[in-house]
Amino acid sequence: MPKDGSTRNGEGRDPIAGERKKRLRGNTADIHGLVRGLYYRVTLADNSIRWIASQERRQPGSSGETRRLIGVSPDVTARKEMEKKIEAAAREWQTTFDSIPDQVMILNRDHRVVQANAAARSFLNLPLKKILGNRCYTVMHGKDRPISTCPFPAIREIKGHGESDIYDDRKKKWFHISVDPVLDDEGETIRVVHMARDITESKRIETETFCARREILRTERLLRMGELTASLAHELNQPLTSILSNARAALRFIDSGTLDMDELKDILKDIANDDKRARDIIRSLRSMIKPEEGEKVRALLNDVVQEVVSVFHGETVIPNLNVETVLSDPSLEVHIDTVQIQQVVINLMMNAAESMLDQTENKKIIIRAEAGDNNKARVAVSDHGPGIAGEDLGRIFEPLFTTKRFGLGMGLSLSRSIVEAHGGRIWAENNRDKGTTFYFDLPAGERRDG
């Protein structure tokens, strides 16, 4: 920048002498010698500051000499302020973006990362350069295609909010993923804001709480079983004592030659009666292992199902298990012992997971909360396992019947007791394509939105 320019054009006219001035397009003026510009501020009499962008144009004469100078000095205060605002907004946005503790990435329709905040960069441990332009599933999960539990593909079509919990087996961490589309004027998705929050700790606590509660229930049940066994032993010992005593007495009467035929007849009748008594005790066993009467509360079926799904770790049974939840709209109200019904749902989900133990792919559970026939609330748990043989289908709910290698035959029979105690029904059907679906219906109350 030539000093003379500023001296000649600047200081003489500048009411703010000594203040720093900015040149506007000074270089252009240098090259062509046609335009000079000055960008400066003036303080007016009322102490307000205005920004001026002065330009002068030299009109050369035929021999190149300056024939005329034309100058304009527009007031550009408004534009200057707008620029400042835009700059400030951009800084503000970047700071905000980087200060979000969740990992935020902005993706284009093609899953490519166009922005990543500080949390995302530090989580990925990569400079921005290495992140931008790559596909999110590559940088996030190290995969060459979107992972099946990712909510992104779905929302690209529905153009609304989507979220899900994802377990990252590379980092051994749980993430809550939420995705929101950025739409253009035509309503087309041009960007997707992808947020990931590390929820490993809260998952762990949630799971521990849930497990602790289940453990308490299991202990209680075992204690009850212990009491039951003791009382069963007592009940059975009574007729057994009588039978044995009667039989021994008869033998002794025979040995001593003092047996009376009428007495023998009476003894045998007594033995038969005590035997029947023992049989009745055993028959009543099934009704004795009914679930205890818990406290029933009004609950929304969607909430009940969602809570189970959020704590259900099928990965502990089989890796790469995919759980899809389909909730009813509106949610259905049920009057239930929540803990017991959740036990049923967990049991069905565990069975579903175990049925696919030997599969290498398509390990998927679909759990649905939906309206059943006749004002019933229905839960359906489908697997993609091998299905259940037709002759077994009718027997799986019987106590002590199992098709599992290490099964006890208690889970489904207890589930049936629980559902029936709620005035409901449980059954299973093989799917048309592959696997089995277990259903249970519960009486539904009024429907509620949300």
């Binding site: 009940e235 009574q238 057994l240 004592t241 007495a249 009666n273 005590d274």
Partner: protein
């Protein structure tokens, strides 16, 4: 005492148990009576002969252990065989401490039961004989005058006549006379016999 058949008293709230045990005891050669509760047994007139009680631990109303307490308090002791369909160790320990001779978990076989009943009856017989002997001695001691009973206590303490006379402020000759009448009334001849008898009667040396 007359040699009569020992009687076994069965107390159990389960009719089928009562009937079958009654039968089994008869096949062993015992007399037996059945009661459906502790209360019913307590109403029966006091049995003086030899026998034992077969008692169910868990019964409505007064249960087995409580009945055992009642009988001990009333000095109406008879060996008790506890039978139970759900016995545990603390329960059996408690019962044994209170004088139960056996604790049989149901179901038990005939020989086990027979042995237990035999043991109980034998215990009862010995106790009753011992008790009968003591009763006879007490009867004899009651023949003694208060003065003679006093002298008896000094004698069993091993005190010589002279000292006894001094203590009681009477003549030595009088003490000798008392001693002679004591031996006669108690139907014995020697000092060691006298000491043994006094011990059986529970007379403490001074």
């Amino acid at each position: 005492m007359a040699e009569e058949k020992p009687t076994v008293f069965i107390i159990d709230d389960d009719p089928s148990i009562r009937k079958s045990l009654l039968r089994l005891l008869r096949s062993f050669g015992f007399e037996a009576e059945t009661f459906d509760s502790a209360e019913e047994y307590l109403e029966r007139e006091r049995y003086q002969g030899t026998g034992c009680i077969v008692l169910d631990v868990r019964m409505p109303g007064i249960d087995g252990l409580a009945l055992q307490n009642e009988l001990n308090k009333a000095d109406y002791t008879m060996p008790v065989i506890f039978v139970t369909a759900h016995g545990n160790i603390p329960m059996s320990v408690e019962a044994m401490k209170k004088g139960a001779v056996d604790f049989l978990p149901k179901p038990f076989d005939d020989n086990e039961f027979l042995q237990a009943v035999n043991r109980a009856v034998e215990t009862d017989r010995t106790a009753k004989i011992r008790f009968a002997g003591t009763r006879e001695i007490l009867r004899r001691i009651q023949r003694l005058t208060p003065r003679e009973q006093e002298v008896l206590r000094y004698v069993v303490s091993g005190m010589p006549n002279k000292q006894i006379a001094f203590r009681l402020g009477i003549a030595e000759k009088t003490v000798k006379a008392h001693r002679g009448r004591i031996m006669k009334k108690l139907e014995i001849d020697s000092l060691p016999e006298l000491t043994r008898l006094a011990e059986k009667a529970g007379i403490q040396p001074l």
